[in-house]
């Protein structure tokens, strides 16, 4: 009897068994390879940082004016024991328009997409560079080494060349090394290095304005940073700790994290399906269970029949998944090792075995939990096919005779859902998960395209077009606002000459020390000021208060306010043009400038003596019927000396082209979700049809056509999808609040997640619905094979 039931079940439930097996296999592959990847990356980050001598703190300075003061400060800090050691190197910044890529006969100007490019050499004591194999390398004259990610991005190969314009003279370098650069090799850092031979590098560095790079080893990062801030060095542009580099490499774990989430979803769905099939099988085999109980078998002995079957499926699936996970793991590690030097690139078999065991125990434990229902069934109850003898049964749903117009198939589909809602819970949960998963990238994309997003980057979405690279033909980067504003005015005149009546604005950025006490020690905060047309900053959002209108008024980001315990109405002191000035905080806001840590000054305040850190794009306002993209294309043709951009391109460059990644991800993700839900639907629909064989046969005998019965099944599934969508809508709002908002908040600002209602609640649900209905229709083909003449044999 035991083997009879087991054999019967294995044969009858081939589809369910295969799908469960597949899900368990896939879940094990995803989980084991991703966990392994995360462990490898996590352990290797420290190793790589140490191996490459990445310092604890790096300080980037603008020029050599303060060098002796900075050197003295470093020496003192060393003597005081605040730092262990330090080093100083020069970095040569190179504007992208001075760099040309030569691929065979093809030559193109570099588009660095917002990443700052520097020249360096191999002899540095800190932030060392290595070749592909992780070994140090030497370069000869005329040779150059480039980061792997840079070469991949620009489709460069060994043997291609780079031409760099140095002081009006073009120098050509052949690429001979693909290198790994711990500090400057990652796209997310916003800075990349090109390495030259020391002789050529020194020759260039001696003739150009260089930046200074102090590399500091210290056990007291916090204390050292505070001490640096207290000194009020004007030439310090940027202070970076190794934590930032560690965080950058953590992004390599994102894909692994995503795969772990998918693996967890698959395990969850497998468990739901397993529960449904297990309960369904037990209900179907009540009589056999009853007989087994009646002849004296214990509950555990009966449970074994079901548990052994699922143990076999889960164990086989997990072992196969573990084996398949090994090459996947190898692939993931190879992919990570392109950017970093790993402590050990071996796949840890123990991790894979551990993950497989975890899945077996989890699913099997859940399976055991589900068979608890069997304890509650008495022998008599089971023999009576689940009926206790109680005849009263409250009818749920609604009555057919009250539906004067509803077609019978529609009625049956709707009534099924209302009568046995719990039966469809697995499907509703699966559809909900799929729906919510699809809304996340869609909402992210829409949010990134929103006008609010533009304003969070201090751009006016209503501007006609934006200009960058103003300095392209004007002798290098700006260090003072006056020169920048003169060039902006020159641009305006140039445009006017060609018949474009424009109003221009530019966001200027400084690093200014602010403190809440007079003569107090302040922190350097990124300070933005809009010069030109939008000087009143009316186009920007302020959460509380009003935009600064006077030169002694200031708006402070919420991050800075909470960090310093300041509120609107407080007065703070800032050292500007060498003089300490008192400012009144009039407003607060959140934005993405400097990860939400910034202040905004009114344009009335003249910053003539302050070192300009940089400027954001020039916003061009004018009357035009063209879109930003069209106008940018036209202006690039008419004014090739400047770089004309649409707002979206500008944003994409600034945030690492996340949009195109997401767009690329959207199709495979939709396809994968569709495939998963189609499999589940197929499986569940087949189980429903098996359960309803008698009813379907009866309907056929009454004259219901095959299509009418299919329609019933399709309408029922449509109702399930509709119910899932209704539940998903509030859940998707929750996912926006608890998943997307915190992700955007990491960048520094609160943002309203944009919902494109037709897209999110119509197009994507329609795609999922189409997949679900297709799967239902395929499964419903088995209705054809239910013969009426077999009706008396069905039981």
């Amino acid at each position: 009897m035991l083997f009879h039931i087991l054999k019967k079940d294995l044969q009858k439930r081939k589809g369910v068994n295969v799908i469960l097996f597949l899900f368990i296999t896939l879940a094990t592959v995803f989980l084991s390879s991703s966990v392994n990847n995360i462990l490898v990356v996590n352990n290797s980050i420290d190793y790589f940082m140490e191996y490459a001598h990445v310092p604890d703190v790096m300080i980037l300075t603008t020029n050599a004016q303060e060098k002796s003061r900075l050197d003295a400060f470093m020496e003192t800090s060393k003597q005081d024991g605040v730092i262990r050691e330090y080093g100083y190197e020069r970095l040569v910044p190179i504007a992208e328009h001075f760099v040309y890529l030569e691929k065979g006969n093809y030559r193109e100007q570099l588009n660095s997409e917002g990443i700052s490019i520097f020249l360096g050499t191999t002899g540095f004591d800190f932030v060392k560079v290595f070749d592909e194999n992780g070994d140090p390398f030497r370069l000869h004259q005329g040779e150059i080494a480039l980061p792997l990610s840079f070469m991949d991005k620009h489709d460069l190969h060994i043997g291609d060349a780079i031409s760099i314009n140095v002081n009006g003279e073009s120098k050509r370098f052949v690429i001979t090394v693909k290198m790994k650069d711990a500090a400057f090799g990652n796209d997310f850092g916003g800075m990349q290095r090109m390495i030259l031979s020391s002789k050529e590098y020194d020759a260039i560095a001696d003739t150009m304005d260089c930046l200074g790079l102090y590399s500091v080893r210290t056990d007291q990062k916090q204390l050292f940073q505070e001490t640096v801030e207290e000194q009020n060095f004007l030439s310090i542009m940027h202070v970076v700790t190794d934590d930032m580099y560690r965080m950058m490499y953590s992004f390599d774990m994102m894909i692994a994290g995503l795969l772990i989430s998918i693996g967890c979803c698959l395990i969850l769905i497998s468990m739901l399906v397993l529960r449904f099939t297990l309960v369904f099988t037990m209900e179907e085999q009540y009589q056999e269970i009853g007989i087994l109980k009646a002849i004296g078998l214990r509950d555990l002995a009966i449970k074994k029949i079901y548990l052994i079957k699922y143990l076999v499926i889960v164990t086989t699936g997990a072992i196969l998944g573990m084996l398949l996970g090994l090459p996947v793991s190898g692939f993931m590690i190879r992919s990570v090792s392109r950017n970093m030097i790993l402590e050990s690139s071996n796949t840890r078999i123990g991790v894979h075995i551990g993950c497989a065991l975890f899945i077996i125990l989890l699913v099997f434990g859940f399976c055991y939990f589900c068979t608890k229902k069997l304890n509650r069934i008495s022998a008599v109850h089971a023999i009576r096919v689940g009926h206790s003898g109680e005849r009263f049964q409250k009818l749920r749903g609604f009555r057919l005779h009250r539906c004067r117009h509803l077609p019978v198939s529609t009625y049956l589909g709707m009534n099924d859902i209302l009568s046995h809602s719990s039966r469809y819970i697995v499907l509703v949960i699966t559809f909900c998960i799929s729906f919510i998963l699809i809304t996340i990238p869609v909402n992210t994309l829409n949010t990134m395209k929103s006008e609010e997003m533009f304003r969070k980057f201090m751009l006016d979405p209503q501007s006609a077009v934006y200009v960058r690279a103003l300095e392209k033909n004007k002798g290098g980067s700006y260090t003072e606002s006056q020169r920048l504003e003169e060039d902006v005015e020159e641009l305006r005149m140039e445009l006017k000459e060609k018949g474009y009546d424009t109003r221009l604005s530019v966001v200027e950025m400084y690093f200014i020390s602010f403190s809440d006490q007079k003569d107090g020690v302040g922190k350097k905060i990124m300070t933005a000021q809009v010069a030109g047309e939008h000087g009143d900053m009316e186009y920007l959002d302020f959460d509380e208060g009003i935009a600064p209108e006077l030169e002694n008024e200031i708006a402070v980001s919420k991050n800075v306010l909470s960090e310093n315990g300041w509120v609107i109405g407080d007065s703070i002191y800032g050292r500007i043009n060498g003089v300490e000035r008192k400012f009144l905080i009039t407003a607060s806001y959140t934005d993405y400038m400097q990860l939400g840590n910034s202040v905004r000054l009114n344009a009335k305040l003249d910053m003539y003596e302050e070192t300009l850190f940089g400027y954001w794009a020039v916003m061009v306002d004018m009357e035009t019927d063209l879109s930003q993209e069209e106008l940018a294309e036209r202006m690039n043709r008419e004014f090739p000396d400047y770089e004309w951009l649409s707002g979206q391109t500008l944003l994409d460059r600034n945030i690492g082209d996340v949009q195109s990644y997401l767009k690329e991800l959207l199709f495979p993700m939709t396809a994968m979700l569709c495939a998963v839900i189609m499999l589940i639907t197929l499986l569940m629909e087949r189980l429903f049809i098996t359960r309803e064989k008698g009813e379907i046969a009866m309907m056929k005998s009454c004259g219901f056509t095959y299509h009418a019965i299919c329609r019933w099944q399709l309408i029922r599934m449509t109702c399930v999808v509709a119910a899932a969508m209704m539940i998903s809508i509030p859940l998707s709002f929750l996912s926006n609040t608890f998943i997307l908002c915190p992700i955007f908040a990491i960048l520094g600002a609160d943002i309203v997640i944009q919902l494109d209602w037709p897209q999110v609640f119509l197009i994507y649900p329609a795609i999922l619905l189409a997949g679900i209905l297709l799967a239902t229709r395929v499964a419903a083909r088995s209705i054809r094979h239910i013969d009426i003449h077999e009706m008396n044999n069905l039981e």
């Binding site: 009454c702 004259g703 009706m791 008396n792 039981e795």
Partner: protein, 254 residues
């Protein structure tokens, strides 16, 4: 008038490469308003005969015509249409939709046929009359689990009659019922037949068969003999009908 005519009907099943001739060259005619019972030992082919002549199963060879229409030539949809409008079926197992009330189960095929509000109103009237006639009016709003087997089988008969079919095919309609319920159900069949509906039923119960007008005896896929008992009038001649049937069956080796 001939309602159903089967000529040289053969049905063969091939199971595990073994050929099993279930029906062999059957010739059969059922006339309007007849009540015919098919009897025979287990495995003789009586149920297969019922399903083949009703078009629910395809014959391997031969012809079956229903009011002159060749059933073998009809498409699946045309057959469904025929079953919906002109045929009624009653089975041994009382198949119903469990999440529908007794009343909704009865009107189900009629609602499938009737689209308009007016037509559905007429269906409701007809269903109430039928339930009243079959004595199950009080069960209308009950769940199907709340009524007895006899009541449920009568509900199934109501369902088979709801579209006013020309013929009812019944496969062991009293097989799952106790004696009292069997009598009640057969009385209903007799009354329906009296009202003009042709009935063909399969049974191995002599009491059930004795209420029929004509009895066919099938053995090894062949109709060996048939007996005419005449129309059943009332219970007074039941004893005599049963004795005649018994004698006839004894002669056939029943």
């Amino acid at each position: 008038m001939e309602v159903l005519k089967a000529e040289h009907l053969c049905k063969t099943y091939i199971v595990n490469k073994r050929q099993n001739n279930v029906l062999r060259n059957i010739n059969l005619t059922i006339r309007e308003n007849e009540m015919v019972a098919v009897m025979g030992p287990s495995g003789s082919g009586k149920t297969t005969l019922l399903y083949t002549v009703s078009g629910m199963d395809r014959a391997t060879a031969g012809k079956v015509s229903f009011f002159g229409r060749e059933l073998m030539d009809l498409s699946a949809n045309q057959m469904s249409d025929l079953r919906l409008k002109e045929m009624g079926f009653v089975f041994q197992q009382m198949y119903v939709l469990k999440n529908l009330s007794v009343y909704d189960n009865i009107i189900l095929p009629a609602y499938q046929k009737a689209g308009s509000k007016k037509e559905r109103q007429a269906v409701n009237e007809r269903a109430r009359k039928l339930m009243h006639k079959l004595g199950i009016s009080e069960t209308a709003d009950n769940a199907v689990t709340e009524v007895s087997g006899g009541q449920l089988q009568r509900a199934c008969i109501c369902r088979s009659l709801i579209n006013a079919p020309k013929i009812i095919f019944a496969d062991e309609p009293t097989g799952a019922l106790n004696k009292q319920n069997s009598i009640e159900v057969m009385s209903e069949f007799n009354r329906i037949n009296e009202e003009g509906t042709t009935i063909m039923l399969v049974t191995h119960d002599m009491k059930v068969a004795s209420r029929c007008e004509r009895i066919l005896y099938i053995e090894d896929g062949v109709i060996r003999d048939e007996m005419h008992l005449g129309k059943w009038r009332d219970a007074s001649d039941q004893g005599a009908r049963e004795r005649s049937l018994n004698d006839w069956l004894m002669k056939l080796g029943w």
